[in-house]
Symmetry: C2
DNA sequence: CCTAACATGAGACACAGTACCAGTAGTGGC
DNA sequence: GCCACTACTGGTACTGTGTCTCATGTTAGG
């Protein structure tokens, strides 16, 4: 039932845009009252994001499941594989939705807020791998590594949705995360080539 | 005059919180009408952020002024020095405001949205330094480097506002940005020491 | 049959933000 | 002095989100 309403929201929003879709429109289409809508979802945004809300937990589990020997950056990259697949799985509809999200300021903000929530979920495991105290708020490193990695995800998603015939999302993410840790200069011979970008993962261990 | 209203907003918001301050309250205190308020500021959030809105341009100029030989990451770090000083200059009031911003979801979202806008400003220069085509939306690297760096800034600001007797913001940012590019393992002998963190700026050839 | 949850609907309300219209002060030309 | 012109200001009504309260079924258990 909840899912049914959520599907209605997606349909309407994909059709006419987010701002142009009022809650009353949704209620009329789903044949429910405003009261019922807001009992199901705390806000209009949540009706659109609610389905993917628990992706953070999946990410957290995937991260803790990585071998302890992996560096934080590599472990993050590998843990993101599951998330990537989820995005690429549904393919066309998900890409349209993602494009709509990055193109709507209110939704993009919500998306980033979701990332901020993931911060808290991933913090313990990343802190452990860094060797930092998770409770030490004056140590910015854990937060920084997670924010940087999630920034790369955002960059990859933007690039993915921008091109009509995109490369695999995993390849794009490899390029994004590789660009952060491997600044050009010593690796400039690769950077300009259109071929596959250097991967951040340890290809040997995978 | 505009600044006067903005100061009123800051006072009220610092006193009772953001959600608890209505624009009617602001108008009553500033002795203006709602119409006038919304002619000065497009939204309540902007009345709080408006003052620092042009920091993005400053950052852009600082970035293009860096020597072309510097890597993107190093140039970003050095360009952020100006922004850092701006934060540390006003000190106590700025820190209280920053803490309020990171603690209020709506304001935190707005802050990240501002970062997203800076993306566009910094993109040409970072793309140049990476050797990427700024117009190529399918290349995530430029976006990734900027998002990662701004994520480090967010991490540094969070750590800065969290501790009652904080270290210098520049030191915190060095630690944050260093943690992303220098994963522990080969540099673990430094990471646990409470002393000054390894700086990301060019101490040798970079 | 009765009642105690429970979901739903209906209406009033607070607040942000927009649009439009009217008054009012300053300014320059005649 | 008078008349337009302009810009700033205030007032009012409106849309839309989200909250709250209350009334109305609806159903399972006694």
């Amino acid at each position: 039932m909840r899912a049914e309403v959520a599907a209605t929201v997606q349909d309407l929003v994909l059709e006419r845009g987010y701002e142009e879709t009022t809650v009353d429109d949704i209620c009329a289409t789903a044949e429910i009252s405003r009261s019922t809508f807001f009992r199901y979802f705390p806000s209009k945004e949540d009706a659109l994001f609610g389905e993917t809300a628990d992706a953070g937990e999946h990410l957290q589990h995937a991260l803790t499941a990585r071998p302890p020997s992996e560096s934080p950056w590599v472990a993050m990259r590998r843990a993101l594989d599951a998330l990537i697949e989820q995005y690429e799985g549904h393919d066309e509809r998900t890409r349209r939705l993602t494009r709509l999200i990055v193109g709507t300021p209110a939704l993009a903000a919500r998306h980033r807020e979701k990332n901020a929530h993931w911060q808290e979920l991933l913090r313990p495991e990343i802190a452990r791998r860094i060797g930092a105290d998770p409770a030490d708020d004056s140590d910015p490193r854990t937060h920084a590594v997670i924010a940087a990695a999630l920034g790369c995800v955002e960059a990859a998603l933007t690039a993915w949705t921008a091109s009509t015939q995109p490369q695999p999302l995993s390849t794009i993410l490899d390029r994004a995360m590789g660009a952060v840790t491997e600044p050009p200069g010593q690796t400039s011979r690769h950077e300009r080539s259109p071929g596959p970008a250097p991967s951040v993962d340890g290809r040997t261990t995978r």
